[in-house]
Amino acid sequence: MDNTDLISDLLPAYSLDCLDADEAEKVASHLPECSRCRQELQDYQELLSRMALSVPEHSPSPELRGKILAATQPAREIHQIEVKSKPVDKAQSRWNANYFWKIALPAWGVLSLIVILLLGMSNISLGRRLASLEAGRLGFQTVSLSGTDTAPQSVGLLVISPDGQDGCLVVDGMPALADDQDYQLWLIRDGQRTSGGVFHSYASGYGVLWIHTEQPLVSYEAFGVTIEPIGGSPDATGDKIMGGNLN
């Protein structure tokens, strides 16, 4: 039995994602060099979609369609993204949608739009400088986040409200995520990291995260963004995408 036959026997379980890590790695490293196995894997993946058709059919409530389409409308218009889930349990920061929509949106909405428009300029660094100037004029503090070697094209700007409790992170040029990943913002003080929330960006690499923390954002020394499993991690585990210090 040659290697291809051995791998071929593992493909059904690989498509179902039920192999042990070492076996899965063997398959993953074999696939790029073997078109036969790639085709076979595609057959198994298609088989899984057929298996999904075998379940008894149910329908969601008729309102769901409108709800989903409504969720896409404002997001595309102002490039604001939905925060996928609450920050992880241990984190001290929290996302409170009602708070922002009822109290903070008017001022923040205008500000974020300014920031987004400026970040959208073809000259990103000039956009960031202009956004910082504009935010400073309004009494907001800003922190520039620069891409690491992992994602040198990524940029971000964190705008902090005058009382230091609220913030808005706008990012651009973010690397693509797998389906089971999110970005996570970290607030860093004395070497300790606290989650500032999880988010993802659009295919264009744009994203926005609203932040509301128990402790003032200005009490943190630095900010960083990593790639984490969907929903976020209690502490950073993935590659650091960008970071910046509070001056």
Binding site: D9, P12, A13, S15, L16, D17, C18, L19, D20, Q42, D43, Y44, Q45, E46, L47, L48, S49, R50, M51, A52, L53, S54, V55, P56, E57, H58, S59, P60, S61, L64, R65, K67, I68, L69, A71, T72, Q73, R76, I81, E82, K84, A176, D179, D180, H200, Y202, A203, I230, G231
Partner: protein, 203 residues
Amino acid sequence: MAKLKPLQPAVNFSELSDPDLLNWIKNADQSALGELYDRYHRLVYSLAYQTIGESAVAEEITQDVFLRIWEKAATYHAEQGKVLTWIVTITRNRAIDLYRRRRIRPENNPLVWEELTPLERSDGTNIEAEVDRSMMRTSIRTALASLPAEQRQALSLAFFRGYSHSEIAENLQEPIGTVKTRIRLAMQKLRQYLLDEAGLEND
């Protein structure tokens, strides 16, 4: 005053293929997303419901899946598989992730392949697509029903629960080698069944 001509829609989305719809979605076209939703929302919801067993959570997953499609349409590549396959992958990942994270008790949602129930009538309006899907559904259920019960049982734990070989072995109180063989044989047989079926269609 001259009468204004009503605006004609430039594209009839219901006539587009799935990959073409995704191209429109990639360019932020909501009508295209609406059409894709009309085609696949029952499949996504039903699979989520089967995995989780709670309608509110299944709706949450359905919403999440279509918003993920909206955001990730650009990452779909036709050469890597069909749109249906891509959507099912996203749905299974999301549903299994929630199943594990929320520690849902297995007794709340019995595995569907343990007893293959009669199919419900669909309320779909696209008759041709419904007929196609209905035929595919019938053939996969026939193929699944032809498997030995113990193979079907191991396969359903992997498919709906996302269990690994060792978790399935523990759950069924069987040696891990036996579980591996059951899953491999079941999947190989189902694949062969579908290949034979495709061969017959092409003849």
